[in-house]
Amino acid sequence: MKFGEWVKTLIFYEILMGMKATLTHLLHYKPITLQYPHEKKPLPPNYRGMLALLRYDDETEKCVGCDLCEAACPSRVIQVYSAEVPGEPTKRYAKEYYMDMTRCLFCGQCVDACPVDALGMTQEFEWAVYDKRNLQLNKQQLLAIGDRAFPVREKRIEFQHPNVAYFNVSFGDIPQKDA
């Protein structure tokens, strides 16, 4: 055994080398673990969190009840019951709208499918509940989520371009369907 090697053995050189990174870290220590829920990580803007239904700037619901989200959803989260808007003949909307969030896999297919951008994915993720039933959301709940998550709203589609001026509008001089 050479002298050099003998000294290295004596002072546990390999171990020291192995611990180098650790020991250096010890000197300028900076914690990585976030102290959730006291600390929160900023989310990327395209984060796919809790789903929400949105409104136009005049508070009307965007959803036209076309059922495309229901058709697009791979895990059958959504159920839409469409109808004519009461008091607004020929205009279509979702009379009832349900999401069973226990099954959602946050793929965003529904958001993609929606032709009128009535669905949005919020940054909300803190939805742990004691009772699974609290994850069955109805239209009012989903709109409320949208209201708090998307304060900036679009103007009505009819006002966006003359070619969509007659998209899903109501005609007051026509009787209601089941009148």
């Binding site: 036209v64 059922d67 495309l68 469409s82 004519e84 007659y166 369907k177």
Partner: protein, 895 residues
């Protein structure tokens, strides 16, 4: 269809595939046969080609430019290419032009998901458009409560317009405007008023015309389809019921499928909600001491019924029971009902609603030619070269048979002779008399004398089949003698039709080789119905058309399974088959099969049952789906008869007037909730399939019969409706074993021979004698209870769609009469006679003949009291469709 095998075949190549098709085939059809689908909008196999959309362009070798395959006929050696790049280019540009003006509001369009424009756009165009110009916008117009239009979506293919004209002959739609600004409108200033057949809704390739009844309730991919048969008339149309979960959404039909070949009438298309009406009986009901119904369990109800039935049977014997069943039931149920009545209760008092008229058609057919069915089919109507319609009001009663007649006349150029109480006047619905080559306007009570007139012209003009006189000299002489007793002067005076018109009609009919007679409710449901049908059979024999291919006499069935009711033995005079009730061998065979002794007592029909009930001989009745208290006039004393019963069981969908009188009410299922078969008017046995779960605790009728028999310890147990059908087949060999077309029985030679030798003499003394009911001077109007196109019985008056077209009855009058009485549409009018007075609303219609007033039977609850009941001595049919009244205006209407 008359497609002979030696027709010239043409060989052509489509996209490299060679095929042979008959000459005259369109290229688009030839391509379809080799599996090449050429995109198209304006082409439809039912319509004449219009070639206006240019979507179907293909390349045909040796022809300059691209050709429209929907209007080009095949030629020998033709080489068609539809998959070459410049055809694709052409399609792309056609679509681009359409889309330039199309709103693309697919998300809210009910066609989205099954739209030709959507599909073709996905297939042929990019998702972006080069057009930035503004799109065309039509002002939105209200169309009708049942049909919605969105003209911005129209591709101007004119299919709807052509369908309404060419197939329906209604002509309610028309294009207005030019070029891209063409818009489809209806003619009237107010909302659409037409036959509401739904044809335009179904034929529109895009979402420009949709159903308002199901608007926004569904998306096509959510729908589950059930192929079944319509319940509203004897035509037996094939319908597809579409449901979402357990909600009925819409009804469709399919081109090329069913006896209706994709056409429907308003009842079939819009009437489907009757089954889910909120008034449906949900639970068995048992009447309490205080006369009110209390909800019960099935066990309680069935045990009570079984106990009472047993008690009455022990005390009074089987003959103390009467049974009445509606012909809206399936064959299986009708069979099981008569088996229950005859086998379990031991009573020969069984009848069905076929008694109200259909037996008047079947009995003469059986006695003259030995068949209980038509000797022709719908196809024969289309191929006929002469058609004689008598008292059919075919558009309103049997609309699809009506379409076959229209097709025969419009496409086959058949001679049409109509003997109808309609005037040939254009109205909001089609009128068959307008298509007639010869029209004999006959008052509803004059069919008999008009038929005699027609036969007299055959004899007087020497139109008799030359061989007949030698073949059946007695027959010929006897008929001639019977006819001669009525003079032309009398016929002309009473019927109001001149001798020339009779002669021309007789000439026209006898000059044909394929002549058919279609007989409707005007004959079958009026006094002497059976005699008139026998006379018409004489007419067929005299003209030599009897027994010839494509010829025959066809009585139209009003209810969907009238024909089945007779074939299943659910009428007094028949065992299943139908075989006469006294037939020894059949009785033996049935006894053995059912393991019972069949009752010996004479059979008694509907009216005899009520008579005997009042006399105390009938102690208990089992009424399934019929409402005699309402459908027969008060003078029949039906209510009194039912009240005098010891025990009444009603099996019903709704708590009708009759059911109110019952001791036990059992909730039954409608046609959408059960399996089985219906037999249509031409004898085609077709499967009915369950679309939705039974409403409430209701059960199919056959299950109830079966359960009851088990509780009564004489079990008739079946696992499903099909097991009953198997038993029916063992009783009637080969029953319902048919292909896509009904088999046509031919008249039995021995029966016809027997009829010509001596059978004709039966009733001859009376059946050519014209009696005349003269109006009293104070009741000058003949009030007829008629059918409406928009309803069928009273079941359809529970359907919200049909109620939006017609929600109440109105007394319909001819304009000249209305003028005389100072009545206008909308006025309230008092209709009265010795039996009472009723106030109703008037409606003035050009098609109603003078001195006649019509009222739809579906809303006749109040007006029923004015009618009397006559009972046919021979066929025991109760007649109550005609009466004499006087009319007075009471108050001016608001319109």
């Amino acid at each position: 269809m008359a497609e002979s095998n030696n027709q010239d075949l043409v060989t052509l190549t489509v996209d490299g595939m060679t095929t042979s098709v008959p000459q005259g085939t369109l290229v688009i059809e030839a391509a379809r046969q080799v599996g090449v689908m050429i995109p198209h909008f304006c082409y439809h196999p039912k319509l004449t080609p219009d070639a206006n959309c240019r979507m179907c362009l293909v390349e045909i070798e040796k022809l300059p430019r691209l050709q429209t395959s929907c209007s080009t006929k095949v030629a020998e050696g033709m080489v068609v290419k539809s998959n070459v790049p410049h055809v694709d280019e052409a399609r792309k540009s056609v679509l681009e032009f359409i889309l330039a003006n199309h709103p693309l509001d697919c998300p809210v369009c009910d066609q989205g998901g099954r739209c030709d424009l959507q599909d073709f756009s996905h297939q042929y165009t990019p998702t972006t458009s080069r057009f930035t110009e503004l799109k065309r916008v039509f002002p939105k117009e209200y169309f009708s409560p049942l049909i919605e239009t969105q003209m911005n979506r129209c591709v101007q293919c004119m299919r709807c317009v052509r369908y309404c004209d060419q197939v329906m002959d209604v002509k309610a739609l028309a294009p207005s405007g030019r070029g891209t600004l063409t818009e489809i409108k209806h003619f009237s200033a107010h909302e659409l008023d037409c036959e509401f057949c739904g044809g335009c809704v179904q034929i529109c390739p895009v979402g420009a015309i949709t159903s308002r009844l199901s608007m926004y309730d569904f998306r096509p991919w959510m729908l589950k389809r059930t192929d079944t048969i319509c319940t509203y008339c004897g035509d037996g149309c094939h319908i597809t019921i579409q449901k979402k979960q357990d909600e009925l959404i819409e009804v469709n039909s399919t081109q090329g499928v069913g006896r209706n070949n994709g056409d429907l009438c308003a009842r079939g298309f819009f009437g489907y909600h009757a089954s889910v009406h909120p008034d449906r009986i949900m639970h068995p009901l048992i009447k309490q001491q205080d006369g009110r119904f209390a909800q019960a369990t099935w066990e309680e109800a069935l045990e009570l019924v079984a106990e009472k039935f047993q008690g009455i049977k022990t005390a009074f014997g089987g003959n103390a029971f009467g049974g009445l069943v509606t012909s809206r039931c399936t064959n299986e149920e009708l069979y099981l009902f008569q088996k229950f009545m005859r086998g379990v209760l031991g009573s020969n008092r069984v009848d069905s609603s076929a008694r109200f008229g259909h037996v008047n058609g079947t009995l003469p057919l059986l006695s003259v030619q030995g068949t209980h069915r038509w000797t022709a089919t719908f196809e024969d109507i289309v191929d006929a070269d002469a058609l004689l319609l008598i008292g059919t009001n075919i558009t309103e009663t049997n609309p699809i048979t009506g379409l076959k007649v229209k097709q025969a006349v419009k496409q086959g150029h058949a001679i049409l002779v109509t003997m109808e109480s309609l005037l040939p006047a254009r109205g909001t619905i089609s009128n068959i008399t307008l298509l007639a080559t010869h029209h004999l306007p006959v008052r509803p009570d004059h069919y008999h004398i008009a038929i005699v007139g027609l036969i007299k012209s055959v004899l007087d003009n020497g139109l008799v089949d030359p061989g007949l006189e030698t073949r059946a000299p007695e027959f010929f002489r006897a008929i001639k003698a019977a006819i001669d007793s009525t003079s032309w002067a009398h016929i002309e005076e009473v019927s109001g039709v001149s001798r020339e018109v009779f002669s021309q009609s007789a000439h026209a009919f006898s000059s044909s080789t394929r002549g058919m007679i279609i007989v409707g409710q005007g004959v079958l449901r009026s006094p002497r119905g059976a005699e008139m049908v026998t006379n018409l059979l004489d007419f067929l024999i005299l003209t030599g058309r009897h027994g010839q291919p494509g010829c025959g006499l066809c009585p139209l069935a009003e209810e969907n399974n009238d024909q089945g009711a007779i074939e299943m033995g659910a009428t007094a005079e028949f065992l299943p088959g139908p075989i006469a009730i006294g037939h020894h061998d059949t009785r033996q065979a049935l006894s053995k099969l059912w393991e019972v002794d069949l009752p010996q007592e004479p059979a008694s029909s509907l009216m005899e049952m009520f008579r005997d009930a009042q006399a105390g001989q009938v102690k208990a009745m089992y009424i399934v789906g019929e409402n005699p208290v309402e459908s027969l006039p008060q003078t029949g004393k039906i209510k009194e008869a039912l009240e005098s019963l010891e025990f009444l069981v009603c099996q019903e969908l709704f708590l009708t007037e009759t059911a109110q009188l019952a001791d036990v009410v059992l909730p039954a299922c409608s046609y959408v909730e059960k399996d089985g078969t219906f037999t249509n008017t031409e004898g085609m046995v077709q499967p009915v399939r369950q679309a939705i779960d039974p409403i409430g605790e209701s059960r199919p009728d056959w299950e109830i019969f079966s359960a009851l028999s088990v509780v009564m310890d004489q079990p008739m147990e079946y696992g499903e409706a099909r097991d009953i059908f198997k038993e029916i087949r063992s009783v009637i060999p080969g029953y319902g074993l048919v292909g896509p077309v009904a088999t046509r029985p031919t008249p039995k030679v021995d029966v016809v021979q027997q009829y010509l030798q001596e059978g004709f003499a039966h009733g001859l003394a009376t059946r050519y004698v014209c009696t005349q009911d003269q109006p009293a001077s104070d009741t000058p109007f003949l009030l007829a209870s008629t059918q409406s196109l928009f309803h069928s019985g009273k079941f359809s008056t529970r359907s919200k769609g049909l109620l939006q077209i017609q929600s109440s009855g109105a007394i319909m009058l001819n304009p000249s009469d209305a003028k005389k009485l100072g009545i206008a549409s909308g006025d309230s009018v008092c209709v009265s006679n010795a039996h009472g007075a009723v106030t109703t609303i008037a409606r003035v219609l050009n098609r109603i003949p003078p001195d006649v007033a019509c009222f739809p039977e579906h809303f006749d609850q109040d007006i029923r009291c004015l009618f009397e009941l006559h009972i046919d001595k021979e066929s025991h049919v109760p007649y109550s469709k005609l009466t004499w009244v006087r009319l007075e205006r009471v108050e001016k209407g608001d319109v």
